[in-house]
Symmetry: C3
Amino acid sequence: MSFLSNCWYVASWSSDIQDGFVALTILDEPILLYRDSRRVPHALSNRCPHRFAPLSMGYLKDDIVECAYHGLRFGPDGSCVFNPHDPVIAKNARIRTYPIMERDTLLWIWMGEPELAESTPVPDLSERFGSEKFRAVCGSMVMEANYQLIVDNLMDVSHGQFLHADALRFDGFFDASHNISQTAESVTSERRFPGVVGSSSLVKYLPNYTGLVDAWASATWHPAGMCLLDNGGTHVGSPETGGVRRCGVHLLTPETASTTRYFYAHVRNYGLDDVRLDEDSRAWHLSAFAGQDKPMIEAVQRMMGGRSFEEMRPVLVSSDGPAMRARRILRGMIAAEQAAGSSDASPQDS
Amino acid sequence: MSFLSNCWYVASWSSDIQDGFVALTILDEPILLYRDSRRVPHALSNRCPHRFAPLSMGYLKDDIVECAYHGLRFGPDGSCVFNPHDPVIAKNARIRTYPIMERDTLLWIWMGEPELAESTPVPDLSERFGSEKFRAVCGSMVMEANYQLIVDNLMDVSHGQFLHADALRFDGFFDASHNISQTAESVTSERRFPGVVGSSSLVKYLPNYTGLVDAWASATWHPAGMCLLDNGGTHVGSPETGGVRRCGVHLLTPETASTTRYFYAHVRNYGLDDVRLDEDSRAWHLSAFAGQDKPMIEAVQRMMGGRSFEEMRPVLVSSDGPAMRARRILRGMIAAEQAAGSSDASPQDS
Amino acid sequence: MSFLSNCWYVASWSSDIQDGFVALTILDEPILLYRDSRRVPHALSNRCPHRFAPLSMGYLKDDIVECAYHGLRFGPDGSCVFNPHDPVIAKNARIRTYPIMERDTLLWIWMGEPELAESTPVPDLSERFGSEKFRAVCGSMVMEANYQLIVDNLMDVSHGQFLHADALRFDGFFDASHNISQTAESVTSERRFPGVVGSSSLVKYLPNYTGLVDAWASATWHPAGMCLLDNGGTHVGSPETGGVRRCGVHLLTPETASTTRYFYAHVRNYGLDDVRLDEDSRAWHLSAFAGQDKPMIEAVQRMMGGRSFEEMRPVLVSSDGPAMRARRILRGMIAAEQAAGSSDASPQDS
């Protein structure tokens, strides 16, 4: 299993890193997250280079990380700043640091070549998380599945007609045209449903609903595991801006080849001050994401029994188009990265 | 680990498949069992060929299986009968089906080449399960052990003198002659004990017991994992038909190389209407099978540490004769099957 | 992973083997421990050579081990003394026996070539466990870590300044000289701290403590996993014999490459009749060994992810000197043993 290294991944919701250390695994690497006294976040290897103790078992003193086992101390730049055992600190006594960016209530980490981080912008989610047009309700969970199976799930919105039929099914879904487009590093799936009977979860929030809506469901993938959804509906013939719109944000960070940390947000353009709707979103996360998607995707992972998607020779349908394009682009990017010799580990930590 | 594919295995007791789906693993393959509206049982691959969802998570509608993930529907013949995504159904959109037969309160499944199923009769257990001469008390359990270790256990009835000494031990067991016979596809072990003091579990049910019995203990193996036992005793010199006779049925279905679904029945020729004796049988299942055989056989599996029986170089005794002949016949049958190129997976599912 | 076979390992505290069988795994081999009617301890393979049943599930009758599965019986010399199935006992029906010695409240086992056991003395711990100068409080636990990681821990007493800072930290530890010496088969680390403020756990037991002590901390390793510690302190300028001295005994027996049975004793030269101090020792075992060392060492094992210590390319400090010398000596001994063709399994059990 290889991952795309040169990519911004979500390490955490900003609010989940406060005082103290948080230990994570990202792309099979042990990561230590913490904030210094100025609240600046840092990401370091969580493995002391001396005796491999998890630094997260240690202490933070004056913005310095002290290993709990033998007292070596590391600065936020990864260098060993104190070795109680020796007058001289060895040059290789340092741990890898990872570029980290705090933006849009998220902490983003760069797992690849540090110099490439600077020239690669962090994904901009400011409209969905920061603007006055939307309200976001966020959550996260770990799925016991490869992240690409979750991308497959998200990029094929048709699964909502079956797996989430209780809330999302409506007649006419499969009559609509399905527009698939792509760029070098993104894929968009777009479906429009003019004049249909809205799904229960849509009409519930649409004022003065009289029987038919113009609905839409689109999804855009960005490498490696970001899916931005845009679903909604409005009165027939009315502008979309007056309708009910949900811009789901789905951010997938591989822990290992078979587990994924899944950050999600339900982003709505209605009832922005209505906390009861926040509760509706959380109930949806629980019923749909945790109660329907998670068991299904994890069952698929188990059904694959360690084989790759290609080895399994899936029988594809047209709704798979976006997900398959995303897989193809990603495969190409990973191959290019490996051909360029860009490893996901810096020399001292490989 | 290879299994014998061209063989009828027990999938389930008939009564355990009612409404709804049952998901099983047999010979490492995921199997879906269900009954249609006419109560006819069907066995299909439990893995949707599209995205590998377990079909058992889906729905049965008008005898059609609908996948819960993306709505593909499959008929009892394994063909995709509805693809909501596309106007045309791909020819390879089908799942493997398995011949299944309901007989003698059991559902039998054929994991090999379908055409060979027709020419191979399902084992006939009608006398033990269907006649007026016997009453059967049935059960099942999963053992964390390779099925051949359970065959070894059953085909060497001498283990009863030690592992089940509390109920089965009697003096003179090892003085008796031990007759071993075999055919191309069966092995029989037969022991007769004329004029011995009966075991406690025998004399308990023998009316007018006065001190000595003519007893017997035989076992016949059929591939891959069927062992039919016949144990009992009668008053010295009396015909066997007047005695206490128990015809244990032991049916082993490999789930994986290290786990087995074990179907068993205690079949008696006495007290046919006495439900208290049914309770005695269930208590015996619990104390002897679950309480003595299971921990021992699972401990042996662990002691082998993943090595094959041959690698372990066992020191054999004469009581191993029947089990060793069964192993030899089975090894030959599996080798012949593999040489003939008969794989246990049909092309579309390999 | 290879172990040093020709070596005395601790199998158990003497008091833990009373009536009945004890089953252990040592160097990946299943071992059966028991005492005969004269209380003489025996160590045999715990795997019946017939059908691989754990003999520990069987019975001890008149100093003979009877297998619970098919009744074969083995004498303390490993030979099969009774085969109920056959008139003749096969010559290869025997199990491996292991030299075992009871000494200093411990049972020591020899896992290598039996003839070498005789010429290799059992480690002498009589002074620590048997003399009137000391009182020992003993315990044991299983650590989910390779035994060498525990040797590393013990041979670098500096970890006490950090991992056990609550009890052991004192100023001046790292100012002291560190003397490292070795023989062909031992390594000693010695540190002396003249005129320092004692650690809390030291001065607590030093009568008339007035502010400064002469302290020391030494550790000696013997193959494969024995570490004898000697820590203490006395009034400045006074003889050591008048001070507080603790001679910790740490005996590591590999179960597998990643689990270790750890026998330890806290041996003190003060309050020999004070049972409250015994409780202090047990509290120390619980807080320091189980509460601090165990989670740390097990975390290190996990951080190594199955890689060898060398593959991990540790950044070493001077305090690692003793542990690294011990690793080097041990590596050489294992290589020599393997070159000499001395396997850890006798022919009939390999």
